[in-house]
Amino acid sequence: MQSIDFLIRFAGDGGQGVVTSAEAFARTAAQVGYYVQTFSTFPSQILGGPTMSQVRISTKTVLSAGDQVDILVAFNKYAYDTHLEDLRAGGVTIYNAEDFQLPPGGPYFGMKVDEIAKSTGNARAANMVVIGAVASLIDMPLDYIEAYVKKRFSRGRPEDQQIIESNIKAIRLGAEGARTSGFHVGQLAPPTPPTYPQIMITGNAALALGATAAGLDFYVGYPISPATTVLVWMEQNLVGKGKFVYQVSSEIEAIGGIIGAGFAGKKSMTATAGPGLSLMSEGLGLAWMAELPCVVVDVQRGGPATGLPTKTEQSDLLACMHPAHGDVKLPVIAPGSVEECFYAGAQALNWAERYQGPVIVINEFQQAERTENIRKPDLSKLKVENRHVYKSDNGQDGFKRYQDWFAGEEMLPMPLPGGPGAYAANGSEHDEIGDTTHLPRHHVRLTERRFAKMKLLSDGHYEAEHADSPVLVMPWGATKGVAREAYEALRKQGLNVGWAYTMFLNPLPEKLLKLLQQKELVIVPELNYQGQWSGLLRWQDVKAKSITQYTGLPFKAGELTQRLAERVRRHTSSRRDAGVIT
C-alpha cells in the first residue's frame, strides 16, 4: 500500500551536512510536485553542536512539522540516542558507520557515507549518498534526485558535468547500500503536483519579500536570532535609488530610525526578537502617540531576557499588543504559514499607511527558518496602499493634523516635511497642531481618537468552519498548521467542534469577534505558560481557554489532538450535566 506522507529526519553535529541534506531532499521532492515542510533546531553557537533538520513530504499540503519519524539519518551516536524516541515502529535508522557502530539485529543499518562519496571522486557528494539511501527506502524514483542534481549544478562552468556525474554516482551508490541492507520503510505515492506556479521559501524571506512588494523604502535592524535573516535579506535585496538599509547600533536606534523615516513620509520597517522588542517599547509608544507609520516584526523565540534564542515559543503576544506604558494597544498581524508571512509583510505596511501608526507583525522561530513550497504570489493582484498626504497649500500653519476626526473611510491627510502644513509630531500629549498640552479635554479627545482609528483596520480576512458548533478551536500564529491537523482529526472522530482562525489579532475582524462572543467555549492551543491569547479574548467577552505548552518546541499533532478531544468532551459532559443537551 502506498503512503502519502513521510517524515525524514537528519541529525548530527552542525557542519556534518545535516541541514544541506534536508534542504536538498526537500527541493528534490518539491520540484516533482510533492508538498514539503522543513523544520530545524540548532544550538546558539557558531559551529557544531547537536543539530537536526527534518523534511516532511506529502502528496497534499503539509500542515505541521510532523510527529513520528519514518527514517532517521544519524550522523553520530549522540544524534541516534537523542532522536530514537521519535522514530515510529517500523521506521529505520541509517547511521554513519564511520562515526559509530551499533550491534547487529536492530531496525538500522550503517553506511560509510564519506568513503562512498570519495569513491565517486567528489568528497562533497556525501549528502547525495544519504539522499539516495533515503529515496530507496521509500521507493522514490532516483530520477527525481538526478533531475534535482542536474538543475542544481548546471551553472555554465566547465566542471559542471563532472560534478553532476559524481553526484549521480553517489545517489546510486547510496540507493544500492540501502537495498543491500534489506530494509524497506514504505512506498511513496506518486506526487499530485499543484496546478498553480510555486515558489520555495522560508517564512522570514517571505515576510521580507511581502514588505518589499508593498513598497518598503527604509529598513534598519540589529542582529538578533531569529530575526537576523530579515536584516541580511534586506541588505542584499532592498537596493537601488531611494532605498535605504542599514545595520544600526541597537534596537533603540532601529525603532528611532523607522519612526523618523515614517514621519518623513517613507514606508519603514525593522525586525527583531523579544529582547529587541523590549528595547523598542518606549519608541513604539511614541509612534502610537504621535501617530507615525512604521512596522516592527517580532520573530519570537523563547523568553524572557535572553531566554531560548534558537527555540520556538508564542510568549511575546502581550508584549507585542501592549508594548508600551500608558494606554496603548497596537495593531498585530500574526501569520500562520509561510505563505501568510508574505501577505502579513505586505498588509502590515498597508495598515501603517492607512491608520498612520505603528503595526506589529509576529513571526516565530519555527516558521521563520522553515522552508515550504507555496503558491507563487501574484503581484498584479497585491493591494498596495499609500499614505494620504496633505497637499493643499492654502494655509501654511492653518492645517491641524490632530483635529477632530478622520474623514469618512480614511484618515485626514498627513503633512510631510518639505510640504505644507508644518506641525510638531509630539510624544507629549498635544493639541490639534501637536503642541504640548496637559488639559484634560485634549487628553480625552486624543486618547479616544487613537483607539477609534483602529476601526479602519477591522476588515481583515478570517476562516470559520462548522461555526454553528458550540465549541471552536482557534489557534494563532505558527500553531495554525498543527492545530488544523488536530482539528481535522477531531472532526473525523465525530466531535462537534468548529474552527476559527485569523492572522489579524488586533483589531479582530468585526464579524469574527461577534461570532466568537456567541460561543460556549473557544479553545486556544498556544505555546506559552499564561495562555496569552485566550486572556486577550476573554478581555473581549469571549469565553476562551488555552491549551498550553512551553517546552521551546512546537506542538505535536497527535498529542494536541488528544488534549483537544479531552477538553471538548469535558465541555460536552458539563453541558449534559447542566441540561443543555440530553
Binding site: 510555486q198 515558489i199 520555495m200 521559501i201 524571506a205 519579500l209 518589499t212 512588494a213 523604502d217 527604509f218 534598519v220 537596493v239 537601488g240 535609488k241 532605498k243 535605504f244 538599509v245 544600526v248 547600533s249 533603540i252 536606534e253 525603532i255 528611532g256 530610525g257 519612526i259 523618523g260 523615516a261 515614517g262 514621519f263 518623513a264 513620509g265 517613507k266 519603514s268 518606549e282 519608541g283 511614541l286 504621535a290 513550497n373 507563487k376 503581484l379 501654511q396 500653519d397 516635511p417 518639505g418 510640504g419 505644507p420 508644518a422 506641525y423 510638531a424 509630531a425 509630539n426 510624544g427 507629549s428 493639541d431 497642531i433 501637536g434 503642541d435 504640548t436 498640552t437 488639559l439
Partner: protein, 287 residues
Amino acid sequence: MSARNPEYDFKWCPGCGDFGVRRALEWALEAYDARHEQRHSMNVIVAGIGCSGNMVHLLEGEQPFGLHGIHGRTLPLAFGVKMSRPELNTVVVAGDGDFLSIGAEHVGPQAQRNLDIACVIMDNGVYGLTKGQSSPTTVIGAKTTSTPYGKIEQELNPLKLYMAMGVTFIGSHYSSKPRDLAKLIDQAMDHKGFAIVHVQSPCTTYNDTYEQLKGDPKKGIPPLVYDIPVDHDPTSRQAAADLLDRPGIPLGVIYRSEQPTLEDRQDEIRSKVKAKTAEQLVASYSL
C-alpha cells in the same frame, strides 16, 4: 503659551539661556533658507526631552516641521529623517542630560557614519525640568537636589568627548551672544557631516552660571568664555586638542574636517547596485 498657541502650557524661566539659543536658531534657519533658496518647511527640528527640547514649540515666525520624541533619542530619530529624506535640513536640539547622559550611546555611531545633520546642544549643567538634579556636566562637588552633600562623580568634558568620537564639526558658544551663535549654527548646518554646536545656556533657577561665563571685573571674577585666537587652525586635530586643554569655554569653531558623509558612501556603493524589482525577487524563489 507659544507664539501660535495660547494654550501651550510650558514656559522657560525669566533669563533662561534657551531664549537666546532660540533666537539664534531662528536667525540661522532664515539665513540657511535664503542661501539655499529653500522653503522653510524643508527644515526638520528633532527635539529632545527637557527644557531645551520645548524650543520646537516656541519658535516664532514661520514654523519648520518638528519631531518632539522621547528622552535621549533625538539622534536615532534624526538618523531616520535624514537617511530617508537626505534633502531635508535636519537639526537636533537637546540638552546636556538628554544628549550626554541617557542619549550618549548614540553620539559615537552617528560620528562614525558622519551623518549629515547639525546638533545644537544646550548645556546648563543641571536637570532643570525635573527641578535641579545633577547632570553629566554638573561639576564635581556641586550640591543639587540629587547630590545634597555634593556630587561625587567627575564632570564630563563634552568637547573632548566629541573630539574623541570623531565628530567632524565641533563648535562651542554661549547663549548671550545670539548673533554670533546664529552664525556658528548656520556654519554647522552647512557643514557636510555630523556637526555639534555645544552651547552654554545657563539655568537661572538651578545653575546660574552667567557671572562665571561673562566674568565680573568688579568682583575680580575672570570670564570663562574666550574668543578662539584668529590663528587657530580648526582643520588640525592637534590644534583643536591643544585648545581644549586650555581652561575656559572657547567661542567659535574648534574643529572641522571634510569627510564623506553616510549619504555620500551610500550613493557610492549601495545606490549603484542594480535595483531588484519585486517580480524579480519573487521569481528568484521559483522551484
